[in-house]
């Protein structure tokens, strides 16, 4: 059964960045090397998933549906707090399956239109929900990714520095964790990176991510 591996999120000057590697593993096999684990949840939030891939992707689909349904039903978007809480309930309802090994632990973040700032939330398998002030990572490579971000992250990073920090942390994770996929320029496999700012959720072009990856690699040569 495929498992998604490392995803991370960090705050920066304009909002938040969410990024994830592309690998899914099933035991010692690479199940998928181009998996998407970072998604826009709606126009102003994003969700990144690690864990049992099938369950996780379905949870994302249902979560996206619920946010859109609520928005159309009431004519108002849920508050970011409301979205984060709803996701916690969905994770909790998955708890019996999590006990059998089908754990789904997402990161959630977005732009809080009322507070006019980016916010980041992380979860555990029981539906526990915590707000993060600077950066967070989940999945098998989360420890090396967090160690990497610890060195790079500063309050108020600009977009370029935030992107660089994100891809560097994923690169570090891929070097220390077998289940995390590194960038592969030959096959055009790069992390998926999403930003959420006052102007909405936006996926970075592959070329922009590739340039940031090249920069990090060049420095280490």
């Amino acid at each position: 059964m495929p498992h998604g591996t490392t995803v991370l999120g960090l705050k920066y000057a304009d909002g938040i960045v969410m990024a994830g590697d592309r690998r899914a593993t099933a035991g010692y096999t690479i199940a998928d090397d181009k998996m998407r684990k970072v998604f826009a949840a709606d126009d102003y939030s994003a969700i990144a998933i690690a864990g049992a891939a099938g369950m996780a992707v379905d949870m994302v689909k249902l979560f996206q549906l619920e946010l859109e349904h609520y928005e159309k039903l009431t004519g108002d978007r849920l508050s970011l707090e409301g979205k984060a809480n709803r996701l916690a309930q969905m994770i909790r309802s998955n708890f019996p399956l999590a006990m059998q090994g089908l754990v789904v632990v997402p990161l959630f973040g977005g732009y809080d239109e009322r507070r006019a700032e980016g916010r980041l939330f992380y979860y555990d398998a029981t539906g526990g929900r915590w707000e993060e002030d600077d950066y967070q990572s989940t999945g098998s490579g989360s420890q090396p990714a967090k160690n990497s971000l610890k060195k790079r992250w500063r309050p108020g990073l600009d977009r370029e520095a935030a992107l660089r920090g994100a891809v560097e942390a994923l690169l570090d994770a891929s070097e220390d964790d077998v289940a995390t996929g590194g960038p592969n320029p030959v096959r055009h496999i790069y992390p998926i990176v999403l930003t959420v700012t006052a102007s909405g959720a936006d996926e970075m072009d592959e070329s922009e991510v590739a340039a940031a990856v090249d920069l990090v690699l060049e420095e280490r040569r």
């Binding site: 549906l65 859109e68 349904h69 004519g75």
Partner: protein
């Protein structure tokens, strides 16, 4: 034990139909127009929050006239139907025709089996691909459905508005022209002026790059079109 007096089915249907008609005639109207980039729904609505026009799905919009609580009920049912279908199957499997059929079934059941019929008329519109893919369904309180082309008016002054639209309507209006013309038509039955704040308009714009093609027009945008 009480006995209901015998009422001929013809009479019963006639009474219900009259009742529903009266309820709808009291309210204001909605106009639906096929325009160059899709479909425009426009209405006079003093409330800025109790909408007559709304989004149902990516390419589908809804408009209702008559009793608010009743068409709101239908809107919510339609929203559930569309979102459930899109989740169970695929987003492109959500079609206005299915929705119109579901509404027709529901309204027809209510009309024949409940104490009182719904005092509503609704429009379901969809844009898909090019102008060939544009559909506009008009569903009456008794469940009858008509497939409209070009323009349609429902609600209080529907007949007068339709007559005026017949003379004025041209295919391929851009959004600005359509809004301006529609507002003039809405104001025509008793030749008054309509305040911009009380105009509600939504458009299914197939030129939008986003997945969700529906957008509500802001008061400033409408004012801009009217003064142009």
């Amino acid at each position: 034990m009480s006995f209901m007096p015998y009422v001929a089915p013809e009479q019963m249907m006639k009474d219900r139909s009259e009742y529903a008609h009266k309820g709808i005639a009291r309210g204001r109207s909605v106009i639906g127009l096929e325009i160059a980039d899709g479909l425009l729904f426009i209405a006079e609505n003093p409330s800025a929050t109790l909408h007559k026009i709304s989004e149902i799905y990516d390419k589908i919009a809804f408009a209702g006239v008559g009793k608010y609580s009743e068409f709101e009920d239908l809107r919510i049912a339609g929203l559930r139907h569309a979102d459930m279908r899109g989740y169970s199957y695929g987003r492109e499997d959500v079609k206005a025709r299915d929705l119109a059929n579901a509404y027709s079934q529901a309204l027809s059941t209510i009309f024949t089996q409940q104490m009182k019929p719904y005092e509503v008329e609704i429009l379901v519109g969809e844009v898909d691909g090019d102008s060939e893919g544009t559909v506009l369904y008009h569903i009456l309180f008794d469940g009858s459905v008509t497939d409209e082309h070009g323009f349609v008016a429902i609600g209080g002054h529907a007949e007068d508005l339709t007559d005026t639209l017949k003379d004025r309507y041209h295919e391929g209006w851009d959004l600005g022209t359509a809004v301006k013309q529609a507002v003039e038509v809405l104001a025509s039955p008793d030749s008054r002026t309509i305040d911009v704040d009380t105009i509600e308009a939504g458009v299914l714009d197939r030129s939008r790059p986003q997945r969700r093609k529906f957008r509500r027009l802001a008061d400033e945008e409408i004012a801009g079109f009217l003064s142009a």
